[in-house]
């Protein structure tokens, strides 16, 4: 087994709206690059459901679209200490990823390892295709994730 008995999940959060598909594109790009016991999940605004998903894993890699004023396609890794700075408020309909993570932290539901990546996006218009910058960034991040998960056994698929 690749990572012993660790339960590993890679979760891409997104919507069908052009660049907002970034998280889903990473999951698509990871297909067949990881062992079958690594769970790949695409989610649309998971809200508080994210907490129950986190509870049942030892390691989770989360990918979401972000708008932080950078160039589309920029990839950023968020450390635990940065989450609170990105909270925008708690709501039932719009419970954000950072809110859900903060709540999971308070409830002691976080997995042992949690990597959170953001991909800077531009347009998020319903029905549009993602831009090339986003597709390229998704491929790049998928490669990085696959390398991180498989490197110990040298199984990175190109």
């Amino acid at each position: 087994m690749l990572i012993g008995s660790e339960r590993i999940k890679v979760v891409g959060i997104g919507s069908p709206s052009s660049d907002d598909q970034a998280g889903w594109l990473v999951i698509d790009a990871l297909a067949n690059k990881l062992p079958p016991d690594v769970e790949l999940t695409k989610l649309d605004r998971p809200g508080s459901l994210l907490i129950s998903l986190l509870e049942k894993a030892d390691k989770v890699i989360l990918i979401d679209a972000m708008q932080c004023g950078g160039s589309p396609g920029e990839i950023r890794h968020f450390a635990l200490g940065e989450w609170a700075n990105y909270r925008t408020g708690l709501s039932s309909h719009g419970l954000g990823v950072f809110d859900a993570l903060m709540l999971a932290k308070e409830l002691d539901c976080l997995p042992e390892t949690l990597d959170l990546y953001g991909i800077e996006i531009g347009s998020a218009l319903p029905g549009d295709q993602p831009s090339d910058a986003i597709s390229d960034a998704a491929e790049k991040l998928a490669y990085r994730i696959a390398k991180g998960l498989t490197a110990p056994l040298g199984q990175v698929a190109q």
Binding site: D44, R45, S48, L49, L90, S92, H93, G94, E106, A124
Partner: protein, 432 residues
């Protein structure tokens, strides 16, 4: 402007993938509320127009997108109304499983509201995250209950957000006996938690604010969820077909959302209205628990809406268990449907209250016109009336922050689709 003249503006920012932007405009003069306007200025969403020209088969999945919290209410109401139009009576299995699925939506929606939105207000926290620091067991219990509701929706709809299981004529898919057995186990685990929730909610020191209002909810042989006639606390009992004769939607200049009046007056829909009219139909075990905890319905204190939701969670868990305990997978989950031209109306009890649909189709089952009256617009007139009474009783001389929090609490009692956004209320006070 004197010290007693205040301009209060409460702004709700636009949220991604969320409907709703609103504000409360309040002008106080000489110690009295001179003007109070709940402004909902969400952009028109044109769902009713989107449906025109579409096949009846597309309608359940399209209307599910109206709300991410209560998609089941929209799709079951649509499916049942179109079945009525086509003269189709779904088999008993499909009817029972729709009620079970609907229970799942009540459980998840109510759990979300109680634990993430409403209770932080009553314990002095600004969010569930802050409350979770001191009371993790309360939030954890809420999330477990919500998960049980989501699992029920997932069981029949393949996913809990915008599920896709319901169709005109039944379901697309029937779960296996093993899947249902696991679901029953999860319900069994959740039921004691819901009992604890009712006891806990009943012990919350709610503000006392009794008001006179008319409750409107469906009535049926069982506690009405997905079937029944429309009744009111004034003795009205009408079929869905008579809705337009008694209920009128209209626009006001300060809001883009419709207001709805019954016989020219505001009214209440939702859990408290249901408990007020149908609470006596609850099982003896729940009636006993309510008596033990000092809960009594009918109740005219809007703050008891939270407790009504807790009781409904307990009921919905038990009802779903009853419906699923002797489950047998049918040979097929649907029946044949032959479309025809006509008009039909139907309604169900969404988590937030009465949801009414009307469809007109051509002979091929294409939608010629659609009308959808959701619970939030029906409650808007009542919310304004409540704010006026409640703020006056609370005292208009309170600090701005206290006024704002009280407004938020009042609005949240109705769990409107903008309730999430009212956590962001911004209060601008102009004193001269």
């Amino acid at each position: 402007m004197t010290d007693q003249q205040k301009m209060v503006s409460i702004h709700v920012p636009v949220l991604t993938r969320v409907e709703g932007e609103g504000a409360l405009h309040l002008r106080i003069q000489d110690g009295c509320i001179e003007e109070l306007k709940l402004r909902i200025y969400e952009p028109p969403r044109f769902f009713e127009k989107f449906l025109e020209g579409r096949s009846y088969q597309e309608v359940p999945d399209m209307v599910a997108r109206i709300c991410g919290i209560c998609p089941v209410a929209y799709q079951i109401t649509a499916a049942q109304t179109l079945e009525k139009l086509f003269g189709v009576e779904p088999p008993p299995w499909a009817k029972a499983m729709r009620r079970a699925m609907y229970c799942g939506e009540w459980i998840q929606s109510h759990s979300l509201h109680i634990h993430l939105l409403a209770t932080p207000d009553f314990f002095g926290y600004d969010s569930a995250i802050a409350m979770a620091k001191d009371h993790p067991e309360v939030v954890r219990r809420g999330l477990k209950l919500q998960a049980a509701g989501n699992a029920l929706m997932d069981l029949f709809g393949a996913r809990s957000v915008h599920p896709v299981g319901v169709k005109v004529g039944g379901f697309h898919h029937a779960p296996t006996e093993d899947q249902v057995a696991r679901m029953v186990e999860q319900l069994d685990e959740a039921l004691p938690l819901a009992g604890e929730l009712v006891r806990w909610a009943a012990a919350i020191a709610m503000p006392q604010d009794d008001q006179a209002f008319t409750s409107v909810a469906m009535e049926d042989a069982r506690y009405a969820i997905e079937a029944g006639d429309i009744s009111s606390g004034l003795g009205m009992s009408i079929a869905a077909e008579e809705f337009e004769q008694r209920f009128n939607e209209y626009q006001v200049p300060h809001s883009t959302a419709f207001y709805s009046y019954m016989d020219g007056q505001p009214y209440l829909v939702g859990p408290l209205a249901r408990m007020n009219l149908n609470g006596k139909q609850l099982p003896v075990s729940i009636q006993t628990l309510m008596a033990e905890t000092g809960l009594a319905f009918p109740n005219t204190n809007m703050f008891m809406s939270l407790v009504a939701r807790a009781v409904e969670i307990l009921y919905a868990l038990g009802e779903a268990r009853r419906l699923l305990q002797h489950y047998e997978r049918p040979s097929r989950p649907d029946m044949d449907v032959s479309p025809r031209a006509g008009i039909a109306m139907g309604c169900t009890e969404a988590p937030r209250g009465l949801l009414w649909h009307r469809y007109e189709t051509d002979a091929e089952g294409r939608i010629l016109s659609a009308r959808i009256v959701p619970p939030t617009s029906q409650n808007q007139g009542r919310i304004e009336e409540d704010l006026r009474l409640s703020l006056t009783a609370f005292g208009l001389d309170h600090e701005d922050s206290a006024l704002r929090l009280h407004c938020e609490k009042v609005i949240r009692n109705y769990d409107p689709c903008i309730s999430c956004a009212t956590h962001f209320l911004r209060l601008d006070v102009d004193r001269k």
